[in-house]
């Protein structure tokens, strides 16, 4: 099959970007979208031109590195898969496919289709963890976790941090990402001691990074390659408001002068 790809080319963060058309010929329909880009890049390199920069790593849908807005939808036309597992058979012969980078103030474009998602790392550093004593491994099942709670936490833990939620949101809000990461830990007993601090800090870091605000339209959930439910956003809202009220009234320890 043959397709034309209309790709966003941008030299660096400061440069003005523009679209360029490339022909991708004699493709196997079972190639992944990224393999198609590899073919185009191969030809560009042979012609002595600058290949298209795109982010990728594991190519099996679990690392969250690949991105791309394909025909106006993050990760392409299929649902529940990342760009690396989107195959050319999802397109028609002769299609013109528009490929853009994820766009958000908090995700500045580094080059072409690659954007900097370090603001997600900052959010994780501010609360996406539990503090435990390292050492020998604890006994398995020493802390009982209900099956339903474990399943729900697993749903949230499926987040690969790709940023499709931000890319799909009309407001570039990171609520689905933050809610999945905070929700996963807040559901489990190991996450309880830092629950309040976690949501307060993660939301503060999210606000600071310049993400927009959630308007409850759930485009994030529809675009998520792991189909994470917007109900985690409701949980984050609940946990955050509870933590805020508690932090206003809770007694502070005495400071000795």
């Amino acid at each position: 099959m043959n397709v034309t790809i209309r790709v966003w080319r941008q030299k660096n963060t400061e440069a003005e970007g523009h679209f360029e058309d490339y022909e991708a010929k004699d493709l196997n329909p079972n190639m992944s979208f990224l393999e198609m880009l590899d073919v185009v890049n191969e030809n560009l390199t042979l012609d002595g031109k600058d290949p298209i920069a795109f982010a990728h790593d594991c190519r099996e849908g679990i690392c969250g590195t690949c991105s791309c807005m394909i025909n106006g939808k993050p990760h392409g036309p299929e649902s529940g898969v990342a760009t690396c597992q989107t195959y050319m058979r999802s397109f028609n012969d002769g299609d013109v496919i528009v490929v853009e980078p994820f766009r958000a103030k908090a995700f500045p474009i580094i080059k072409d289709l690659v954007c900097d998602r370090a603001s997600f790392d900052k959010i994780m550093q501010s609360g996406g963890f539990i503090s435990i004593r390292t050492g020998s491994a604890p006994d398995a099942n020493a802390i009982p976790v209900g099956k339903e709670v474990a399943d729900l936490a697993m749903d949230a833990a499926a987040c690969i941090g790709c940023g499709a939620c931000v890319a799909a949101c009309k407001n570039s809000s990171a609520m689905l990402f933050v809610s999945a990461k905070a929700g996963q830990l807040n559901l489990l007993p190991q996450g309880q001691p830092e629950k309040d601090a976690r949501v307060l800090n993660m939301v503060a870091t999210m606000d600071e990074a310049g993400f927009g605000n959630c308007t409850n339209q759930y485009e994030c959930s529809a675009a998520c390659p792991k189909a994470i439910s917007e109900e985690f956003i409701a949980k984050l809202n609940r946990d955050y408001l509870t933590a805020s009220v508690k932090s206003v009234f809770k007694p502070k320890p005495t400071t000795m002068v």
Binding site: G72, V98, K105, K170, L200, S229
Partner: protein, 253 residues
């Protein structure tokens, strides 16, 4: 952080303000609708009700001030959140699909601002009673208390097709606004989950439709001639076939 910083400076706090102020206003419009439906009762009913509300004096002003504060907060937060949302994507996509956002959710700003414009007009017409906006007659209750004839004021107002149309379109947009707003409130304060989100969505659609129909029935029935002017001193009053007033007058002469 103190509570004001949480409510007015954090993303979730600002949205909580939207949700709570929205809920208060929904409570108000339900009460307002029930009050207005008294138009279908004899004029005595709604006139006495309006007289009772005016009689609350400082209480009425306290309620008005509270509702105004609620409205101001709702609009202020909406503007603030919208500006932040615009700033969060300085360069827009060339093509972007809408995946599942409802049409109502994508037109909240438009419906909100038209309803706000209507609200200002509505207050000038029926609350401030600006001369020239409408007819503001007086009447007396059965016990002889002189009161404003709210019944006639409303009927005369809605006999104007343009006022009625503006009213119907505005309550239509308000219902449209609520269609997304009601479910959204629950999500924002964290009371929406997949267990009952489908019920919640259906319930808010049903509420919006009922709210619209009940409101539209008021100007609709005036235009259809079901509700007529019942104050003999107001132009446009038509004597009913059996009129005790006329019979009494005729008997005297």
């Amino acid at each position: 952080m103190n509570i004001f910083q949480v409510l007015f400076q954090t993303s979730i706090g600002k949205k909580a303000v939207m949700a709570v102020t929205g809920l208060i206003m929904v409570g108000f419009i339900i009460g307002h609708l029930v009050g207005n439906l008294q138009l279908f009762a004899p004029p005595e009913k709604i006139n006495a009700y309006a007289h009772f509300l005016e009689g609350l004096g400082p209480g009425l002003w306290a309620i008005r001030a509270f509702l105004l504060l609620t409205l101001v907060l709702h609009v202020w937060m909406a503007i603030k959140l919208t500006l932040e949302n615009k700033a969060a994507r300085p360069q827009d996509y060339v093509s972007q699909q809408t995946l599942r956002a409802t049409y109502a959710s994508r037109t909240m700003r438009l419906s909100g601002f038209i309803v706000l414009a209507f609200l200002i007009y509505h207050l000038l017409h029926f609350t401030v009673r600006v001369e020239g906006f409408g007819t503001y007659p007086h009447t007396t209750l059965i016990d002889g208390t002189p009161v404003r004839d709210v019944h006639t004021m409303m009927v005369v107002g809605f006999q104007n097709i343009w006022i009625s149309l503006f009213y119907i379109i505005s309550v239509g947009l308000l219902s449209w606004h609520l269609n997304h707003g009601l479910v959204s409130m629950f999500q924002t304060v964290g009371f929406r989950s997949r267990t009952w989100s489908s019920f919640l969505t259906k319930a808010s659609v049903l509420f919006s439709i009922l709210y619209f129909l009940a409101n539209a029935a008021i100007p609709g029935s005036v235009l259809a001639g079901v509700v007529k002017i019942q104050n003999p001193e107001v132009a446009g009053y038509v004597c009913p076939a059996k009129c005790a007033v006329c019979e009494a007058k005729n008997a005297k002469t």
